[in-house]
C-alpha cells in the first residue's frame, strides 16, 4: 500500500516541477509578446522599423517637427494665410507669443511630447534586448546587431534633443539650470530623472558617441557606397541595393541607410549637439568629418543642381535628395500636406522676400522652390518616388556649423576667411547666375580696411540656414540655440510636471 501511495505522489510531483514554468508561458496571435518578438532577427528588425514609422507620424517628423510647428514657430509662414487654413490657425499663437495657449497644449505640445517619448520607450526596450543578444542570431552577425543597437541609441538621443529644442532652455536662457527635462534610458522607469540643459546635453552626446562608435564599422567599413555609388552616390533610399559583401543575402534591411539613423546622421547630430553646447572644437571636428569626408563628393558634383529649371521641381531634386543624411518616412506625407494646399490658399512663405532680399532672382532656393506669386513652397507638394521622405538631417548643416565654428574666437580653428570659403561652396551650388563670393568679399573689403565683421558674417551663415531649411523646420534650431526664437519654451505636459516638481 505504501508503495502505491509513493507512486501516486510521484505522479503528482511533475505538477510542481520546472516544466510548469514552461507551460505557464503563453503566447498570443493578435499581439506579439516581447519574448516572442525578440526571438529572431526578423523581430529585432521589426522593432527597429517600427521606431521609424512612429517618427514619421504627424506629431513628429511627418508634420510638427518639419513643416508644422517647427517652421511656424520661426515665423516663416504668412500669418494672413495661416489664419485662413483649417486647424493651422493655432500656429498664429507662436508669432503672437501666446505660447501657453490651451489649444496648442492639447493639440500639439502634449501629443508631440507623448509621441517622442513613446519612440524613446521603444528604443529603450529594444536596447534592453539587443545589448546582450548573441550576434549569431542576426543574419548579418555582429554588424547587424551593432547597427540596431547604434541606431536605437542614436534615435533616443535625437528624440531627447528635439524635446530640448521644443520644451527646454538653451544655455543662454535663464532657465537652463532648471532640472526640467527627463532623460529616459530604462523602459521600466517609473520615476525618470530630470536634468538641466547642460547635463541633458551631455547625456545626448554620450548616447550619440556610443551610436557613432557602433555604426562606424558598418557604414564606413562595409557600406562604403553610402556616398560613392552610381553618379558618386549610393542611393541612400534604395532598398534594392545589394552590398558586395552580402551578395547572396536579402540586404534590404542593411541598405536604404538614409531612411534610418545611420553613422553620418549621428556624426552630423554630434556636431549639432556640440555647437548647442558651445563646444566649438568638437562641433568643428564632427562637422568637418562630414565636410572633409565628402568635400569632393557632396557639393562638388554634377548631380547637385546648379541651374534651376523645370526639371528641378520634380522629385527627387525638389528634396535635394542627395544631400539628405537622414529622412523620416511617412506614406501620407504629401496627402497630409496637400490638405493645406488648396486653390484659394496655400502655406505661403511670408518671409521669403526678406530672407533672400537682393538675391531673389539668383538663389535657386527661391527661384526653384518658392512660387513667385503666391509664395507657396514646392518642397512638400510633389508626389513622386521620394515624396514620402521628410528630410531631418542634411549635409549642408556641416557647412553651416563649420563656418560658424571658424567665426567663433573660442574655437581653435578660428579663421573667418575659411569660414567664408566654406559658405561659398554652398553659394556656388545654389546660385545659377553670376554671384559674389563671400571669400572675395571678405578680402576685398579687408583690403579696404573695412572688413566684414564677425557678427555680419555670422548673420550670413544664419541667413543661409534659413534659406536652406525654409519650411523643413531646421531654422528653429538656430533660433533656439541663440535665444532668438520664442520668448519661452513650450510648457511641459501636466502629466509630466506632476513628477518633476516644476
Amino acid at each position: 500500500m505504501k508503495r502505491k501511495i509513493n507512486i501516486l505522489l510521484l505522479l503528482l510531483l511533475p505538477m510542481f516541477s520546472l516544466s510548469c514554468d514552461k507551460w505557464l508561458d503563453v503566447s498570443s496571435s493578435t499581439v506579439v509578446l516581447e519574448e516572442d518578438l525578440f526571438k529572431s532577427s526578423a523581430g529585432y528588425r521589426q522593432a527597429l522599423n517600427g521606431i521609424y514609422v512612429l517618427m514619421g507620424k504627424n506629431t513628429l517628423y511627418g508634420k510638427e517637427l518639419t513643416w508644422g510647428t517647427s517652421t511656424a514657430m520661426s515665423g516663416i509662414y504668412d500669418e494672413d494665410v495661416l489664419e485662413l487654413l483649417p486647424s493651422l490657425e493655432d500656429y498664429l499663437a507662436y508669432t503672437e507669443d501666446d505660447i501657453e495657449n490651451e489649444d496648442l497644449i492639447s493639440g500639439i505640445y502634449d501629443p508631440m511630447w507623448t509621441a517622442a517619448y513613446r519612440v524613446v520607450a521603444n528604443c529603450n526596450n529594444l536596447l534592453a534586448h539587443v545589448v546582450d543578444e548573441d550576434p549569431e542570431l542576426f543574419e548579418f552577425g555582429e554588424n547587424e546587431r551593432d547597427i540596431i543597437e547604434g541606431e536605437a541609441l542614436g534615435v533616443r538621443a535625437l528624440m531627447h534633443f528635439e524635446m530640448l529644442r521644443m520644451f527646454g532652455y538653451s544655455l543662454d536662457e535663464a532657465g537652463c539650470d532648471e532640472a526640467r527635462l527627463p532623460y529616459v534610458t530604462d523602459f521600466y522607469e517609473t520615476a525618470p530623472t530630470y536634468y538641466n540643459t547642460s547635463d541633458f546635453l551631455d547625456l545626448i552626446i554620450a548616447d550619440l558617441l556610443a551610436s557613432w562608435d557602433l555604426q562606424r564599422s558598418y557604414d564606413v567599413g562595409v557600406n562604403e557606397y553610402f556616398t560613392n555609388g552610381d553618379d558618386g552616390y549610393t542611393d541612400q533610399f534604395d532598398t534594392g541595393y545589394i552590398l558586395d559583401n552580402y551578395e547572396d543575402e536579402d540586404a534590404s534591411f542593411m541598405s536604404a541607410r538614409g531612411t534610418r539613423f545611420n553613422y553620418y546622421a549621428v556624426t552630423m547630430l554630434l556636431a549639432r549637439a556640440y555647437l548647442f553646447k558651445k563646444d566649438y572644437d568638437n562641433a568643428y571636428y564632427y562637422a568637418n568629418s562630414i565636410y572633409g569626408g565628402t568635400s569632393s563628393g557632396v557639393f562638388g558634383t554634377t548631380t547637385f543642381w546648379a541651374t534651376p529649371s523645370d526639371d528641378l521641381l520634380m522629385s527627387p531634386y525638389v528634396k535635394f535628395k542627395y544631400e539628405i543624411l537622414f529622412a523620416a518616412h511617412q506614406e501620407d506625407l504629401v496627402e497630409n500636406y496637400n490638405i493645406y494646399d488648396t486653390d484659394e490658399n496655400s502655406l505661403a512663405i511670408g518671409c521669403a522676400e526678406e530672407v533672400f532680399s537682393d538675391e531673389l532672382t539668383y538663389d535657386a532656393r527661391y527661384t526653384g522652390l518658392i512660387s513667385s506669386d503666391t509664395k507657396y513652397s514646392k518642397r512638400w507638394v510633389y508626389d513622386g518616388t521620394y515624396a514620402d521622405f521628410a528630410p531631418v538631417i542634411r549635409t549642408s548643416e556641416a557647412y553651416h556649423i563649420l563656418a560658424e565654428c571658424m567665426l567663433r574666437e573660442e574655437c581653435s580653428e578660428y579663421n573667418p576667411a575659411s569660414a567664408m570659403a566654406v559658405m561659398d561652396v554652398i553659394r556656388k551650388a545654389r546660385f545659377g547666375m553670376p554671384y559674389v563670393f563671400y571669400y572675395d568679399l571678405y578680402y576685398a573689403l579687408a583690403g579696404q580696411e573695412e572688413t566684414l565683421t564677425n557678427s555680419q558674417m555670422l548673420e550670413i551663415v544664419w541667413n543661409d540656414i534659413k534659406r536652406e531649411s525654409m519650411d523643413e523646420g531646421l531654422y528653429a534650431w538656430t533660433e533656439k540655440r541663440l535665444g532668438m526664437g520664442l520668448s519661452q519654451p513650450f510648457p511641459l505636459p501636466r502629466k509630466e510636471t506632476d513628477y518633476n516638481g516644476l
Partner: protein, 929 residues
C-alpha cells in the same frame, strides 16, 4: 465498498471532495433543488439570494427583466474595482475584457470544474442536485487565486440505480410587464404642463429658444389633437404578455454496476418587449460504471445551445419619452408616420416606424462538454479521484442596422446600413487529481485531501462590420459595399493555471475541530516575477452540543462556534496584462520593412489581489430542533488591488497595472428559522435572514485620484445635460458611495437651487469640486423572509426580500421631473403637480419652464430607500400515490408559482428604463413514470 448515501444537508461539497458538515469549520450554505424550485422554476441565480443573505444580485434598473441580460452577483460585498471605470464606459474606452468580466463575480464550479455565469444562467434547474455557497477562507482556500469573491458549487443530479425512471417536468409561464413605476402624463395633462411652462406666454415673459409664433402654432396643433381624442399610450406598443414553456425529460436507471441517465431539455423565455427572447436547449448523457469493487468510472457528455434575440422595438426609453398627443399612424393612409416634428429641434423618429425596418440583433452559442471521472478506492481510508474535462463553445452574434434607419441619415448611399458579425470560440481543458484520506482512530477523525489541478482556457474572438447595403433582402457580407475597415477586431487569449493543494480536517470526539488548507497556484496571467501564489487558511471550532453534559440537557441539538482565517486571491486582469507586448504596424511599412511598436507596458511583478478574511460563526439548533439560529461575522480585507498606476508621460505610457489599494468589507449575517407547527401532516416554518455589509476603501492609487479629477472635468463639460452621479474613489469612502453636491434646497424666493460649497458657503452654481459623499446605496440591512407551510399534500412557500436603509439617486426626479425638456419629451406627472410656481412655494422642484433645468448630481435627489418585495409565492400539490396506481405514474406534483408579485418602496422612480420589469406566473407539473 459501498458509497455512503448521505443527506445533502449533511455534507459540504467543495468541488474537490465532500466534507462532513458537522466537523467543518468553514461556512457554507447548501440549497437543494427542491428549495430552489419553490422560489423559481426558471431562475436559479435569483433564487439563491433567498437562502443566503451573503449573496446579492445587483438590481439592474436599466435592463429590468430582459432575458438576455445576465445578472450581476456578489458574495459578501465588493472587494475589487473594475478595470472599466464608469467614465470609460461612458466614453467607450473600456477594454472588452473589463466590460465582459465583473471583478466581483463569484467563481462557479459545476461538478468540479470552473464554469461561467452564463452557463449557470441558462442551465435547466432540473439538472441540479444541490448548490453549495462557500464564502469564507476555510471553505474557499482550496481554490486559491480564484477564491476571493466566494465560490458557488453546483452539483448535478447523478444517475440512480434501479428500474428505468422516466421523469418529465413541464413549466408553463405567463409573463407580463410591470409598469407600476411609470406615471406619465396623458395628452391633456401634457398640454396643461406645457402651458404651465409658458408655452403661450409672449417672448419676453419666458426664456426660450423658439419663437412665439412657433409656440402658438404648436399649441394649436396640440389642442386640436387633444380635442380629436388623441391620447397615445406609447408604452403599450413595444410590450406584450408572453407565454413560455419549459420541458425537461429524464431517463435514469441501471444496475449498481452500471447506471446511466439521459436528460433532454428545452425552454423558451420570451421577454415582455416584443420579439426579445432567449431559448435554451440541451441534452446530456451520464454513464457510471463500476469496474470493480474499488474502481468506478463515469463519463458525462453534454451539449447545450442558446438562441437569443433582442427586441426589434429598440429601447423602452424611446417610448416613454414620446408625446401622448402624437398619433403613431398617419390618419389618412393608416401607415406609420416616419417621424414627428417638434416645436423646436430635430425631428424625432417614430420607433414604431423604425421597427418595421429590418433591424435585428440576434445571437447564439453552444457548448459541448465532456467530463470523465475516475474514482479509485485504494483501501478503507484512501480514495483517489481523477477527472478530465474538455469543453468547446462557440458564440455568434449578429446585428443589422437597416439602411433606412434614422441613424444612417448622415451617411452616403454606399455607406448606409451596418452588419456587425462577431464570432468567438472558447476551448477549455481541466484536469483534477485528488487523494482523500479519511480515518477514525478512536475519538480522532482525520480527513485529508491532497490534490492538484490544471486548467487551460483559450478564447478567440473576431468581429467584422460591413456597411453599404442596398436593400434588406440580401443581408449577407458579400452584398455589402465594403468591409468597414476600422471596425475589424480580433483578439485571442490563452490562460493557464496549475495548482496543488493540501487540505485537512481533524476533529477530536466530534467536539474540537480543526481545519487547515494550503494551496499553491501558478498562473500564466501573473507577472514573471510572481509566477506562483501561495494561499492558506486555518480554522477551529467547538461543537458544544457533543459535550456529554450538553447531551444530557435536551435543549440543544446543535450548538457550535467556529472561526477561521486565511488568505485567498483573485485575478482581475486580462491574461496578457503582465506582459510587455508589441503590435504589428499594419499600415505604413517603413522603407526597410514591416514595423512593430510597443503595445502594452507589462509589469513583471503584477500579482493577484489578496483577501485576508476572518470569519466567525455561531450556530444553534434548539427546542427539539424547532428553532435554528445562525450568526456570523466576517472581516475581509482585500489588499494589493489591481489598479492603474500613473506614469509620467516621458515613460511613453500613461499608466500600467499595479497592485495598489485596499478595500475592506466588514459584515454580519443572521439566519433564524422556526418551525411553528411540526406535525406529520402539517407544518409551518418561518424564517428570516439578514445581512449588513460595510464597504470601505482604505487605500487608493494615484491614478484613482487622477480619475476623480477627470470625473470633475466630465461634469464641468456636461453641465448642460442631465447627469447622474459617478463613483469617485476616496479613502474612507465606499465602492457604493454616491457623490454629488450637497443641496440646500430650492430657495422659496427665487425658485433657484442653493448648493453648499466645500468651504461652507451657499452658492447657486453647481461646482464639481464641491462634490462630497451624499449617500450610499448599500443597505443597512437586507435579506429575506420565508414562510413554508404544508398540509398533507399541499405545500405553500412564500418569500420576501427586504432592504432597510441605504440611499438611491432618483434619476427619474432629476431628469424626467425636473430636468425635463418639456417641449420634446413626455414626463412624469409630478412635473405638473410638484414644481415651484410662485414666490414662497416650499416645494422640492424648481420652476417649470420651457428651457430645461438640467441637473448635475445633487443631494436633493437622494432618497432613503427601503423596500419590501414579494419575491415569490408557490403552491404545490403532490397527488396521492393511491390515485396513481395503475396509471404507470409513480409520482406527480403540480406547482403554481408567481414571482415578483409586488414591490413596496419608499422611492418612487421609473424602474426598468430600457427594458421594463415583469411579473411572471408559472405552472409546473413534475411527473415520474
Amino acid at each position: 465498498m459501498k458509497e455512503d448515501e448521505v443527506a445533502v444537508e449533511d455534507v459540504v461539497v467543495t468541488g474537490y471532495g465532500n466534507i462532513k458538515r458537522e466537523s467543518f469549520t468553514g461556512q457554507a450554505t447548501v440549497v437543494t433543488q427542491e428549495e430552489l424550485l419553490r422560489v423559481s422554476p426558471t431562475n436559479i441565480l435569483a433564487a439563491l439570494q433567498v437562502f443566503d443573505p451573503s449573496i446579492q444580485i445587483v438590481e439592474n434598473n436599466e435592463m429590468g427583466s430582459d432575458p438576455n441580460t445576465l445578472p450581476q452577483m456578489q458574495v459578501r460585498g465588493q472587494s475589487s474595482i473594475s478595470g472599466a471605470t464608469e467614465l470609460d464606459v461612458i466614453n467607450g474606452t473600456a477594454s472588452e475584457y473589463d466590460l465582459a468580466n465583473d471583478p466581483n463575480c463569484p467563481l462557479f464550479i459545476l461538478d468540479g470544474y470552473e464554469t461561467t455565469l452564463q452557463t449557470i444562467y441558462d442551465m435547466d434547474p432540473m439538472l441540479i442536485k444541490s448548490v453549495t455557497i462557500l464564502k469564507d477562507a476555510a471553505s474557499t482556500a482550496v481554490y486559491g487565486s480564484r477564491a476571493s469573491n466566494g465560490v458557488i458549487v453546483f452539483e448535478s443530479v447523478p444517475p440512480k440505480a434501479g428500474k428505468i425512471d422516466i421523469s418529465y417536468n413541464f413549466t408553463g409561464s405567463v409573463t407580463a410587464p410591470d409598469l407600476s413605476s411609470y406615471n406619465l402624463m396623458n395628452a391633456q395633462q401634457k398640454l396643461d404642463a406645457e402651458v404651465a411652462a409658458g408655452l403661450i406666454m409672449p417672448t419676453g415673459q419666458v426664456t426660450t429658444y423658439t419663437s412665439f409664433d412657433n409656440r402658438i402654432a404648436h399649441y394649436r396643433d396640440v389642442v386640436s389633437a387633444v380635442s380629436q381624442g388623441i391620447d397615445t399610450y406609447w408604452l403599450s406598443y413595444p410590450l406584450t404578455t408572453e407565454i413560455n414553456h419549459k420541458h425537461s425529460l429524464g431517463f435514469t436507471g441501471g444496475s449498481e454496476g452500471f447506471r446511466f441517465s439521459l436528460n433532454v431539455n428545452y425552454g423558451n423565455n420570451n421577454g415582455v418587449m416584443k420579439d426579445s427572447f432567449r431559448e435554451t436547449m440541451g441534452v446530456s448523457l451520464n454513464l457510471n460504471y463500476k469496474m470493480s469493487e474499488k474502481l468506478r468510472v463515469s463519463n458525462n457528455i453534454s451539449y447545450s445551445k442558446t438562441n437569443n434575440s433582442n427586441s426589434s422595438y429598440g429601447s423602452f426609453s424611446d417610448y416613454t419619452s414620446l408625446q401622448p398627443y402624437w398619433y403613431p399612424y398617419d390618419l389618412t393612409t393608416g401607415e406609420f408616420i416616419e417621424s414627428f416634428s417638434q416645436v423646436s429641434g430635430a425631428d424625432i423618429a417614430n420607433p414604431l416606424y423604425v421597427q418595421t425596418l429590418d433591424n435585428y440583433s440576434i445571437g447564439d452559442y453552444f457548448t459541448i462538454t465532456n467530463n470523465f471521472n475516475l474514482d479509485y478506492y485504494i483501501n478503507k481510508y484512501l480514495r483517489l479521484t481523477g477527472s478530465l474535462a474538455v469543453s468547446y463553445g462557440k458564440t455568434n452574434s449578429e446585428t443589422y442596422v437597416d439602411p433606412d434607419d434614422p441613424s444612417m441619415d448622415n451617411y452616403d448611399m454606399n455607406e448606409k446600413g451596418r452588419l456587425s458579425i462577431s464570432d468567438g470560440t472558447t476551448t477549455s481543458m481541466n484536469g483534477n487529481v485528488v487523494l482523500q484520506y479519511n480515518r477514525n482512530i478512536g475519538k480522532n477523525n482525520i480527513n485529508l485531501r491532497l490534490g492538484g489541478n490544471m486548467r487551460e482556457s483559450t478564447t478567440e474572438t473576431t468581429g467584422f462590420v460591413y456597411r453599404g447595403f442596398s436593400n434588406s433582402l440580401l443581408i449577407k457580407p458579400m452584398y455589402a459595399a465594403e468591409l468597414y475597415g476600422d471596425n475589424v477586431t480580433m483578439s485571442d487569449s490563452v490562460s493557464r493555471l496549475v495548482g496543488a493543494f493540501l487540505s485537512g480536517n481533524y476533529s477530536y470526539d466530534n467536539i474540537y475541530l480543526f481545519d487547515i488548507s494550503a494551496r499553491l497556484d501558478g498562473s500564466s496571467s501573473f507577472g514573471s516575477n510572481n509566477k506562483y501564489a501561495p494561499f492558506w487558511s486555518l480554522g477551529a471550532g467547538i461543537n458544544f452540543h457533543n459535550y456529554d453534559f450538553m447531551k444530557s440537557v435536551d435543549l440543544f441539538s446543535s450548538l457550535r462556534l467556529t472561526a477561521n482565517y486565511g488568505q485567498t486571491g483573485q485575478v482581475n486582469f486580462s491574461p496578457y496584462m503582465a506582459y510587455t507586448s508589441y503590435q504589428i504596424q499594419t499600415s505604413g511599412w517603413h522603407t526597410t520593412g514591416l514595423g512593430a511598436e510597443l503595445y502594452s507596458r507589462g509589469n513583471s511583478d503584477l500579482a493577484w489581489e489578496k483577501t485576508n478574511s476572518l470569519s466567525v460563526a455561531f450556530d444553534a439548533t434548539m427546542l427539539n430542533s424547532r428553532l435554528n439560529v445562525g450568526l456570523s461575522y466576517y472581516n475581509n480585507t482585500t489588499i494589493e488591488l489591481v489598479t492603474d498606476a500613473t506614469l509620467p508621460l516621458s515613460t511613453g505610457f500613461t499608466s500600467y497595472k499595479e497592485n495598489v489599494g485596499k478595500v475592506e468589507n466588514i459584515g454580519t449575517e443572521f439566519r433564524v428559522s422556526y418551525a411553528v407547527i411540526k406535525k406529520k401532516d402539517m407544518g409551518l416554518n418561518v424564517g428570516v435572514t439578514g445581512s449588513r455589509n460595510k464597504n470601505t476603501i482604505l487605500e487608493i492609487s494615484e491614478s484613482q485620484k487622477a480619475y476623480n479629477d477627470s470625473v470633475n472635468e466630465y461634469f464641468e463639460e456636461n453641465s448642460s445635460v442631465n447627469t447622474t452621479p459617478l463613483l469617485k474613489y476616496t479613502e474612507g469612502g465606499s465602492l457604493t458611495s454616491i457623490y454629488g453636491v450637497q443641496s440646500l434646497g430650492i430657495s422659496p424666493s427665487t425658485g433657484e437651487e442653493l448648493f453648499l460649497s466645500i468651504d461652507g458657503s451657499a452658492t447657486t452654481t453647481w461646482n464639481s469640486t464641491d462634490q462630497t459623499i451624499i449617500g450610499n446605496t448599500q443597505a443597512k440591512l437586507r435579506g429575506s423572509m420565508t414562510l413554508n407551510f404544508y398540509y398533507k399534500n399541499f405545500t405553500l412557500f412564500t418569500s420576501f426580500m427586504y432592504k432597510l436603509g441605504g440611499q438611491v439617486y432618483n434619476s427619474t426626479l432629476a431628469s424626467i421631473v425636473e430636468g425635463v425638456n418639456i417641449l420634446s419629451t413626455n414626463a412624469d406627472l409630478r412635473v405638473l403637480t410638484d414644481r415651484w410656481k410662485n414666490t414662497n412655494d416650499y416645494v422640492a422642484y424648481r420652476a417649470l419652464g420651457l428651457v430645461s433645468l438640467y441637473n448635475s448630481p445633487t443631494s436633493r435627489f437622494i432618497q432613503d430607500e427601503s423596500y419590501l418585495k414579494f419575491n415569490s409565492v408557490s403552491l404545490s400539490y403532490t397527488l396521492n400515490k393511491e390515485w396513481l396506481n395503475g396509471s404507470g405514474i409513480s409520482n406527480c406534483r403540480l406547482t403554481a408559482n408567481m414571482s415578483d408579485v409586488f414591490t413596496l418602496s419608499t422611492v418612487k422612480q421609473e424602474r426598468g428604463t430600457s427594458y421594463p420589469f415583469a411579473r411572471t406566473f408559472n405552472l409546473s407539473a413534475n411527473i415520474t413514470f
